[in-house]
Symmetry: none
Subunit: 201 residues, 4 copies
Amino acid sequence: MRQDLVESAARHFAQHGLERANINTIAVAAGFAKGTVYNYFSSKEALFGEVLAEACRRAVQRYSRLEHGDSVRDRLTALVRADVSVLRDEEAFMKVLLREAMSFRRETYPIIVANLAPFLGLVEDILARGVRSKEIRADLPLSQRALLFVGLLALLFVQHWGSDGEWPTLNALPELVVSAFLEGAAPRGAPRRRRAGRVKR
Amino acid sequence: MRQDLVESAARHFAQHGLERANINTIAVAAGFAKGTVYNYFSSKEALFGEVLAEACRRAVQRYSRLEHGDSVRDRLTALVRADVSVLRDEEAFMKVLLREAMSFRRETYPIIVANLAPFLGLVEDILARGVRSKEIRADLPLSQRALLFVGLLALLFVQHWGSDGEWPTLNALPELVVSAFLEGAAPRGAPRRRRAGRVKR
Amino acid sequence: MRQDLVESAARHFAQHGLERANINTIAVAAGFAKGTVYNYFSSKEALFGEVLAEACRRAVQRYSRLEHGDSVRDRLTALVRADVSVLRDEEAFMKVLLREAMSFRRETYPIIVANLAPFLGLVEDILARGVRSKEIRADLPLSQRALLFVGLLALLFVQHWGSDGEWPTLNALPELVVSAFLEGAAPRGAPRRRRAGRVKR
Amino acid sequence: MRQDLVESAARHFAQHGLERANINTIAVAAGFAKGTVYNYFSSKEALFGEVLAEACRRAVQRYSRLEHGDSVRDRLTALVRADVSVLRDEEAFMKVLLREAMSFRRETYPIIVANLAPFLGLVEDILARGVRSKEIRADLPLSQRALLFVGLLALLFVQHWGSDGEWPTLNALPELVVSAFLEGAAPRGAPRRRRAGRVKR
DNA sequence: CATGAATGAGAATTCATTCAT
DNA sequence: AATGAATGAATTCTCATTCAT
């Protein structure tokens, strides 16, 4: 029951967002009447929070089953693959989560940060190992590098939806994210120019 | 008058988003009564569209004044610096623009794409030059590379706001974006692992 | 509930017409809050349509119980008496119906025509019988004669209201309508002038 | 100027009615700006009243030019023909007038009655002459007979508009009205049944 | 537990009217 | 006289939330 409502809400929120969402529709789609929602959740916002929390839970849970490869590249790729698989199974939840994460609302941002902390921690661990094995540069705090990685991942998910799956495809996504994150756009071995530094207004 | 309304609307939309925004508040903040808004804009959505269009206009316009450096790195950095300067001056407009761009709503996505096309084109041009000068790898279509760059930029702006300006700071942003985009996280000269390739389905 | 709202709406529409009517007033008069109206009717216009339909229903239904006399005059008189009795019981509904019928608005005219078709059919039947028994002249299509009769009836109802019941009184109405319709103003046996006929164009 | 506004208002009111009418549209159609209307009329209702008064004036004025025939039938027919010709020339004004007359609103009914009194008086005069010449029965006060005539006329105008000019046509209208008014539906010389008088319920 | 009728705060929108220019 | 920008009262409609059954 409760679970059905959360699932239904996720689908609906993914499609319409928090403001436009309609409690009655969510309830009916779950096979209940409007009033029933309020037996389980104190308000629309509370229900949304629940969906968000569940989304985080499902996202994080998948990573515990991760088989570890050797290199940082392998680990990160595995991580994204896991993420993509969550995405396939829980598209509604993930859409809600990403949209909300990207909007940085005061009401929900802390929830998201708190819930995604384990995931970010996982990325940080991998990167830390990478620093030790010289696979990752140490010129940026790991927490920031991790944010960059997760942000890039989120960005490409959003772009995937925004382009109706045209680019990037889910299959190409893991390689793409990891490559963009690790190697960037410059060719290997290209000379690194130091900036001149004259910052003009 | 009209301009005052658009400015006020930008500030308000930046804070509350389209749905939560209140026409009366916008009008009063601009020193008018709510009815006046409808002398200039046919609806709340139309006003939002106007704000969006204006945001795009202001963003793009700043790049035309850009003095070009030599290398791709210099050019991209200059671009981001220009962007940051727009951001400082037009924070409200840019927030509206970025939030909306990141939410990929059917109603406004085409507007944004159309209006940002010149900017994306600019990035593509710079990257194309980079490919010729071997500063940029050619393993991805330029339009996609350009999207990656712009997305990364947007991502860091959003993160800047989301962290209340803590990280990244606007000053650090240009170097950060360009570095992350060009070089990624791996050290120069690191060996590139080929993927195993059996990604199925 | 629904019925109470329709009754209240009828009274209100009868007094103020569709445009001037106020949903809140209707709801409160029925003992509800304005929101409740929208649980039953999708809009003010829909509610008006419902009142109209109900008015037609009540008007037509009364005629089915009619005992038939012999002559056309008796039948028509019985018909009008039935009509008058509906009018007494359902004054509000009938006012709405008649006012709307007389204003011929594109939005509601078809509804009215459709709903009153049975009544007009009834009149046509009586007239057809009258033509066979030589009580009715055949110089006009029956559908048009029927319209004349119904129109005359409506006209006198409206005049009744317009004069605050002064003339015609409801008691006098049946005789008056039937007499005006059947015999007109000229004395029996008056010579009928043929028209000159050169009405051109 | 003032006259242009009244004409424009007539056209607009005829199409949309008092409530739905829009002052701005009326003004612009007359070649003025919104505000100008208020230099001439104190309110929308006042403008409507002016249109109504003008309609009455135009309707009545035409009858003064009437050439008189001999019989009541001829006179009435001439009257209706005059009316039809007003109608052709001043359709907008007449529509406003009739619609309003048929709705019996407290605000405007007295105006209409007062303004149409001369016309009704004219009809009464003709009928009085008819009573003397035995062309008209005397079983009804002349004022009421006159109302019946005018009502019938109005009714058929409305039906003309309501049926999009299909029936009755304006050409057929004079004969039709006069015939229906004078002779009714029964054949000449038909026996007149006395009513039994048992008015039931 | 589930229901769904009732609620009423809240928001967008309209437009007659005013009035400074 | 003419204008049209500004106004704000008024109205419709939405929908989260309550609560008696």
